[in-house]
């Protein structure tokens, strides 16, 4: 699509322009990667506590990017982020626990299972043309059923007592800084995938079907196919993160992937950062790492503040904080120069 939209120029100039374009598109990701790389030496040093908090923030940022790809890009309200991460985590843990396969095989199988389940859920939603709300209910029902399955299958999952991961976990769980860099790498990987999808023809289809499904369908976009793509890729991100997280903490229980622990946070932080934006989940996860730390003394107060957060975000910052700030910035610049220079990454 883009190729036809561009005027035909001479090949070297065009490739230089494409390179410049790609560089600008990847600049925010490079900035994030640079910040993540220098954080441990500059700030947390060797404090295991702060590093653990940072790892958790990175994990939730990656969940958020997966969720953002599914919901923010293609309007499928997947209220089963925790369950998908749990499929990855429990899948990997059970497989490497029961068989002699290496942990990497376990992680691969866990990720693939999450991707397949996410794709199937999306396929069902598309085939039965469930709207946003029914997709939300079906996936919510799925996550509750998954939580009960974890509790019911005591032999496999250990129910509330949880599952201790023995091999591989030892390395990652002891070395928090290594875990930090691992999850920073996963996060940057997810960001790159998200960006590449945004820039490719798939991104055009996403924007088209999100803005107006019928118009997109009429313009020849296979809405069903792109929805399933988004769900599969997003679920793979979530499953991979969930599986790696299981190994990094060395111990998982149903609460690790419970709806109120994972989905609520992911929804809130993604909405806070801005649905559909590249860096929204990253900013949201960073902010919420601080908020959580402040509110860690009381779980009930945390619930209360989450509620107030959700309400105020959706009442006052409908487009998320990133978009609102960029919008204000543009307006301030436009007054000086006459035209906006900074575009929200969503456009």
């Amino acid at each position: 699509m883009r190729a036809t939209a561009e005027p035909a120029g001479s090949t070297p100039r065009r490739s230089a322009r494409v390179a410049g374009y790609a560089w600008r598109a990847l600049l925010p990701i490079a900035a994030v990667a640079a910040i993540l790389a220098v954080l441990p030496p500059l700030w947390f040093g060797d404090s295991p506590f702060t590093t653990s908090l940072a790892v958790k923030a990175l994990v939730f940022a990656s969940y958020g990017i997966g969720f953002n790809l599914i919901f923010g890009s293609t309007n499928q309200l997947f209220l089963c982020v925790g369950a998908l991460a749990g499929i990855g985590g429990y899948g990997a843990a059970i497989l490497s626990d029961r068989t002699s396969l290496s942990i990497w095989a376990g992680i691969a199988v866990g990720t693939a299972s999450a991707a397949i389940v996410g794709g199937l859920l999306s396929w069902i939603a598309v085939r039965r043309s469930l709207g946003v709300i029914f997709t939300g209910i079906v996936t919510l029902v799925f996550s509750l059923a998954f939580a009960n399955l974890l509790l019911g299958q005591r032999d496999l999952t250990g129910a509330e007592t949880g599952l201790v991961l023995t091999d591989g976990a030892v390395k990652l769980a002891d070395d928090r800084v290594a875990a930090y860099y691992l999850f920073a790498g996963v996060l940057v990987g997810c960001l790159i995938v998200f960006r590449v999808l945004q820039l490719s023809h798939i991104g055009w289809a996403f924007r088209g079907l999100r803005d107006d499904e019928v118009a997109a369908e009429l313009a020849g976009v296979d809405v069903a196919r792109y929805r399933i793509y988004a769900a599969t890729v997003g679920s793979a991100m979530i499953g991979l993160t969930g599986a790696l997280y299981a190994y990094s903490v060395g111990f998982i229980q149903p609460a690790t992937y419970a709806f109120d622990q994972v989905d609520v946070r992911v929804l809130v932080l993604t909405a806070f950062g801005g649905l559909g934006t590249l860096l929204g989940p990253v900013i949201g996860a960073a902010v919420f790492a601080f908020v959580d730390e402040e509110l860690s003394s009381s779980l009930e107060l945390r619930e209360l503040f989450y509620g107030i957060f959700v309400i105020s975000i959706f009442l006052f910052f409908r487009r998320g904080v990133v978009q609102t700030v960029v919008g204000l910035f543009n307006r301030a610049l436009a007054r000086g120069r006459g035209k906006p220079t900074l575009q929200p990454s969503r456009e």
Binding site: V264, S298, E303, L304, V310, I311, F314
Partner: protein, 283 residues
Amino acid sequence: MRAVVLDGIVLGLALGLLGVGMTLVYGLGGVINLAYGQIVVLGAIVTSLVMDEGVSTVLAALVGVSATVGVAVLLDLTLLRPVYRQHGEERILMGLLLTLGAAFVIGGLLTWRYPIGALFVNVSGEPVSIVGVPLARGSVWASVIALVVAAVLLLFFGVTTFGRGIRSVIQDETGSRLVGINPSLVRKVVFALSGALAGIVAITYSMSAPLTVNAGFELTTFALIVTVVGGLGSVAGAFLAGVLLGIVNAVSAHYIGQYITTIILLGTAALTLLVRPRGLLGR
């Protein structure tokens, strides 16, 4: 077996009321009130606090019901105002997220202030024998109240002009406006009604087992399942689905086990959505 089914019916009637409270609000404009379970819990906590002051149970129950009515109407007047200004999926989504936020606020406040709060209405007296099965007095009262409320509701919606007016808004908002019905007034009445049902459920539920402060999420889930299976927007459907699911729940929990039962209930809801999205009695 008979005892189990009877228990299921008692639970099912309470679930039916819960479903009606949620389905009415949904039918009115596509808002799924995810704070519904928390409103029920609020009614229970208020009632138990008033009862602790030494007030009689009936009076305390009235105070509890008025509290839930108040909160429901307040929700309509404040938070849901901007929601009803939206249309289509935007409205549905915003309603879902804002009521989810309200659920956290109410639930968080209650568990913070009353971490061990619970309501248990103790109905004294000998068990009553029904079809040869002794049934606790509390369960009998709960069922009678639920049946009376159900009958009153069905009469209200079937016979009175105002009840029909509400149904017309549910069927077609624009059309009802054209024949002179005020949708905003109807909405207030429906929210009050939904709040009253939440209060009543809090009382009847706690007649057979204590209703604890953290039951909100579970109650919302139950209400959602019942509403979905009964057909979003259908009062009779919600009752029917409530009783059916109550029986399924009791029988399966007795013979198979609780975890599988929950999965069966959730599976029923998912299957209904996929096979017959309008539910048992939905339009």
